[in-house]
């Protein structure tokens, strides 16, 4: 459905996208991951025809975004990152306008407005000015305008940024419901979000593809180890010796102790992922007479996953290909 080939985009001296290649299959929800400034938005803007690539090509539903811009754009619904809406319009008026701008005739546009308002749960706000809506509702209006005219492809740039946890869950389930019927590219820099919503992920950094595959690619226990944070009351030097001596424990690093908890020593370490290993570790600390205060798995940041992904491959080719059949649930 979406094909990106050798895509490059240069802004002056800065290469924002550098030879990107990926494909998205029909009905697939693709997570597009990367830290801020990785080139996600640039790639999405090329796909939606805001600007053309410097070289390479991108096509949507078989239409090249440069050669057949209107046909390609007809197939796409787009939600930009900061959700730029006409805030002085009422929700219904705005969606009617979008319908017209997407080429629908009056009655058809009004029918679409009704449909997308129901699909995104904003029907009861139809008469309200967009500037009076909360961030969550604006995001829904943004999603609604992308859905107008029922395009087969949705491109959503950070659709849950700035929302509260309840709104995030709602927007995610809206997107998840589209699996199968729509092809979705969803950008994010939040790992759990992508793991929860997407069937496949593409990770980019500095405009280059770092890895692509199922969301399990992002799981920290890839090597069969958990990273843990351990805090205990006791002598730091003795605790360090104890931890180093405990079987199955490695990579022990002392961390700065929290200022408001004097006497607590904090370490980060890796331990085998089995629950028994963690239990044994806790027992060892308690048996030594030190008071166990905290033992928590550390969620990996995206940057750490990058480092892991890049360093785990042979240095020359930092691209991890972990192809999995579409639809496989990597739970």
């Amino acid at each position: 459905m979406i094909e990106v080939k050798d895509l490059r985009k240069r802004f002056g001296d800065n290469l924002a996208v550098d030879g990107l290649n990926f494909e998205v299959a029909d009905g697939e929800i693709l997570g597009f991951l990367g830290p801020n400034g990785a080139g996600k938005t640039t790639t999405m803007r090329i796909l939606t025809g805001y600007f053309p690539p410097s070289s390479g090509s991108a096509s949507i539903a078989g239409h090249d975004v440069v050669d057949e811009p209107l046909a390609a754009r007809r197939a796409v619904g787009y939600l930009p990152e900061n959700v730029p809406l006409y805030v002085d319009m009422r929700v219904r008026e705005y969606l009617d306008f979008v319908g017209g701008a997407k080429g629908l005739k009056g009655l058809e546009a009004r029918r679409e407005t009704k449909r997308v308002m129901e699909a995104t749960g904003i029907a009861e706000r139809a008469g309200q000015l967009i500037k009076q809506l909360s961030k969550g509702y604006r995001q829904r209006v943004g999603l609604a305008q992308a859905l107008v005219a029922d395009p087969p492809v949705l491109i959503l740039d950070e659709p849950t940024i700035g929302l509260d946890p309840r709104q995030i869950v709602e927007i995610r389930s809206l997107i998840k419901d589209m699996a199968g019927s729509k092809t979705v590219i969803l950008s994010s820099h939040i790992l759990p979000e992508v793991a929860a919503t997407c069937q496949r992920v593409v990770i980019i950094n500095q405009g280059r593809l770092v890895a692509q595959g199922p969301p399990s690619l992002l799981r920290p226990e890839r090597a069969g180890n958990d990273r843990l944070r351990l805090a205990a009351l006791g002598d730091p030097a003795r605790l360090l010796d104890l931890l180093l001596a405990t079987p199955g424990v490695g990579g022990v690093h002392p961390e700065a102790a929290p200022a408001d908890q004097p006497g607590v020593a904090v370490f980060s370490l890796t331990a085998a992922a089995e629950p028994a290993a963690r239990a044994a570790l806790a027992k060892a600390v308690v048996d030594s007479g030190a008071g166990l205060v905290e033992l928590t798995p550390i969620a990996q940041s995206l940057e750490e996953v990058f480092v892991q992904l890049i360093t785990s491959e042979s240095g020359a080719a930092p691209v991890a290909e972990a192809e999995a059949p579409a639809g496989e649930d990597a739970a």
Partner: protein, 255 residues
């Protein structure tokens, strides 16, 4: 086509949902009303005096009242037009809505034309209350209708020219004020560039005079529709709309 209509409707709505339309309207009506009143008084005084002269009764309502009035209006409209156009594209750029607008399957031309036609409609609506003054003239005397219609045609041509240029200024910047000032200065320059024609002299002087906006309008309120003037306005409008569309396209390529 429906995309153009959608843009047109949105812009018309924006004019009426902001105070701009009402403020401009009120000010224009007040100013033109004042000019009409003084013009009418002056004309009636002049005609009283003329009646006492043996060579009197050659006063012409169109030439002595309507033409100078319309000439006044044209200057006022030159001041007003940048206020109508300055928001059109620069605001879309500033707020980022242009990104979404350009992701829809519509041509850049329909965006520009939709906005142009909306601003032109607003211009015509601002001009509309002056018809009351024309009605008063018909009640008081016998003005020459075809000449008045020609005058309005000229005003519309000129308004379209102002707006086409203002739209380009709006496409060049994301700051409304900059866009407004740019349009105003450019219009003023084009208005007065002919004045230096006689000083410069020669073919360059003639070219400057031909380039100026004002002289091309002067014929219309006198009831004179010159093909050269009509061609000037159509070329002027076409040129600036074309460059605006190209500027929008160039933004896509550079952005």
């Amino acid at each position: 086509m429906s995309a153009l209509t959608a843009i047109y409707r949105k812009e018309m709505r924006a004019y009426f949902c902001s105070p701009i339309a009402y403020v401009l309207w009120t000010c224009f009506v007040a100013l033109t009303g004042y000019f009409f009143y003084t013009g009418l008084l002056y004309y009636s005084m002049a005609s009283m005096q003329a009646m006492q002269q043996p060579w009197g009764a050659t006063l012409n309502l169109q030439e002595m009242l309507m033409a100078p009035l319309m000439s006044n209006w044209s200057v006022m409209l030159m001041l007003i037009s940048p206020l109508l156009t300055m928001r059109l594209l620069s605001e879309e750029k500033r707020s980022g809505t242009i990104e979404l607008l350009l992701s829809y399957p519509l041509s850049d031309a329909s965006v520009v034309l939709g906005k142009f036609l909306a601003a032109l409609s607003m211009f015509a609506l601002i001009l509309l209350p002056t018809l009351a003054q024309v009605a008063i003239l018909f009640w008081l005397g016998q003005p020459h209708l075809p000449a008045i219609l020609a005058g309005y045609l000229g005003l519309l041509f000129m308004g379209a020219a102002f707006i086409a240029l203002g739209l380009l200024a709006s496409a060049l910047t994301e700051n409304q004020i900059v866009s407004g000032v740019l349009a105003f200065v450019a219009l003023l320059m084009l208005w007065v560039v002919g004045w230096s024609g006689n000083l410069v002299g020669g073919s360059l002087g003639e070219a400057l005079k031909a380039l100026a906006l004002g002289p091309h309008f002067e014929g219309f309120p006198k009831g004179l529709i010159d093909t050269a003037d009509v061609a000037y306005f159509i070329l002027f409008i076409g040129f600036f709309l074309f460059v605006t569309i190209r500027t929008l396209e160039a933004k896509r390529w550079k952005a």
